[in-house]
Assembly symmetry: C2
Homo-oligomer: 326 residues x 2
């Protein structure tokens, strides 16, 4: 590869002045500038990012921590993050943590050694102090981690209220809630919303932990439907678990939406691929990923943050699983 030295030689100036025109910093005469630019063109020179990195102690790299990119919620987020990062000249490193602390820590170590500039965390993390001790800027996405970490979330509770009210309006009289893992804040908040509406209308209901995976949720729903054949509405804590519920209904020969109405949460594109198409509470996934990335950028620039909590409104999206069918 051609280096700054080659350019300097070609342009008949010192490397310092090449550097000056590269960075548009310091005084350079018109003639020198021209000569350097010409040399750069001739040699097709591109500055070495690693050398720059060594001097500046920054890398233009951000780490994106997700539990598992194959879970369909994360790719849409990842896409947004990557778009926003690229737009600002940053590069994103994908980190699948499986929610394992040792993996997280390994990634953090590697990224720190590479002068990573920031981290976006979409994982429940046990390594809060460890992360903060690196002094790398961090933002939490779709998860609350700690007071000290800027957070981008959606209105989980209100979304759950909307979903449950909708089921009630559709005439459901016995509603099951497939809740996400206890301790995951978003799952807890969705459960809160559900409970509030149920209590307000005093509707028969049942709650079960269905994890975040489809297999688990299908099994859980199946059990539920066998125990309580009169269940006529299901509010799932995620679209993936809603898909599991739909499978279970199918296996139990219940038809959707005729016998059972179903609504999910997230608004991932999976919902539109299902038949019938899944009603859901739409999080503005792309916007959230974009916002998180932009927040991170402003932290990297060491600017003040307006706010440490960014909550996006969810939107009730009625498709086919929750309406009609008589």
């Amino acid at each position: 590869m051609t280096t700054i030295k080659d350019v300097a030689k070609q342009a008949n100036v010192s490397v310092a002045t090449v550097s000056r025109v590269l960075n548009q910093k310091g005084y350079v005469s018109k003639e020198s500038e021209e000569a350097v630019k010409k040399a750069i063109k001739i040699l097709n020179y591109q500055p070495n990012a690693v050398a720059r990195s060594l001097y500046h102690k920054t890398s233009g790299i951000i780490g994106l921590f997700v539990p598992d990119i194959s879970n369909p919620f994360f790719p849409e987020l990842a896409r947004a993050v990557e778009d926003a990062a690229t737009a600002e000249g940053f590069t994103v490193v994908l980190c699948n943590t499986d929610n394992k602390q040792d993996k997280e820590q390994k990634y953090i170590q590697v990224l720190q050694q590479k002068y990573a500039d920031g981290l976006i965390i979409v994982t429940g993390t046990e390594s809060v102090e460890h992360i903060l001790s690196t002094h790398i800027p961090v933002v939490a996405l779709d998860r609350y981690i700690s007071e000290d970490i800027p957070t981008v979330v959606s209105s989980n509770k209100q979304g759950a209220i909307d979903a449950t009210e909708h089921l009630v309006e559709q005439g459901c009289t016995f509603i099951a809630h497939l809740r996400g893992p206890i301790g995951v804040t978003s799952a807890d908040e969705r459960y809160e919303g559900f409970k509030q509406v149920i209590e307000k209308h005093s509707i028969a209901h049942v709650v079960i932990d269905s994890g975040f995976e489809i297999g688990q949720s299908e099994m859980a729903t199946r059990k539920l439907l066998e125990m309580y054949p009169s269940i006529d509405g299901i509010f799932a804590s995620s679209d993936v678990t809603a898909a599991g519920a739909m499978r279970a209904a199918y296996k139990c020969h219940k038809s959707i939406p005729t016998d059972i109405k179903v609504i999910g949460f997230d608004g991932i594109s999976l919902g539109e691929m299902l038949t019938p198409a899944l009603s859901t509470v739409q999080q503005p996934i792309y916007d959230m990923g974009e916002r998180a990335t932009k927040l991170l950028m402003t932290m990297i620039e060491k600017k003040e943050l307006q706010s440490y909590r960014h909550e996006f409104k969810t939107k009730l999206t009625i498709r086919e699983t929750s309406v009609g069918g008589e």
Copy 2:
């Protein structure tokens, strides 16, 4: 951050000997080694990857080029790549190209400036010469790009043959093929396989280009079903387009598998989330991603490759959309 100098001072040796114990290279006395190790522990020293990178002209970074990580086929591949890369101490940078040449080139430039060690390409690319001109090792995954680039694919044609034969065995008499974009080798090969079986049995059929996206495929299928109401079998070139076909059938009040049998291709987890569960031709996605990564690693080590073409067998996976229903 603490540097090698700090360690040297702490251990009362020169930075050279610290470097030697770090890299386990060259002679170091037992005593010096002990002292250095102790100092490293005390100071919690971690070598600076950027400085190493500058000297070695390598970075431990590989770029993963996909059209769009939100398309559900790619996350499963990305997961495999990331796992295999991490296992070898590499880090993966996610690059969404949208199949746009300018984006590809931008990423290539940035990665080259960072001393990226290798590229895995899961995109139809127009930049072959540009890529090769960087001299960065490359492998093509699920796509054939050029003779000069090692390729990991599955047996697309045989898979398509199996799928079509299966539909015939199930008694389909008028089969539609939703083919992928012309010019994408995997789509072309799948079409070849379909055609071969159809001709062998001289079965009524129709072929339409359905792209790789669900919306397009739903629309295409709908038109098809309106024009040819006697279609009773659909072989889709991907699981995503199969999902679109299922949606279309639903809209046209055709029941699956009773009225129409459907089979997809890919074997992504989406298939199991659908109701009824999608029959498909399973590619060993994870294994393919892993293989591609390992090939890349051996290229990075400048070892000889056994072979430039790695073809994985597909597996016919019968679930619910293609059998029974009478």
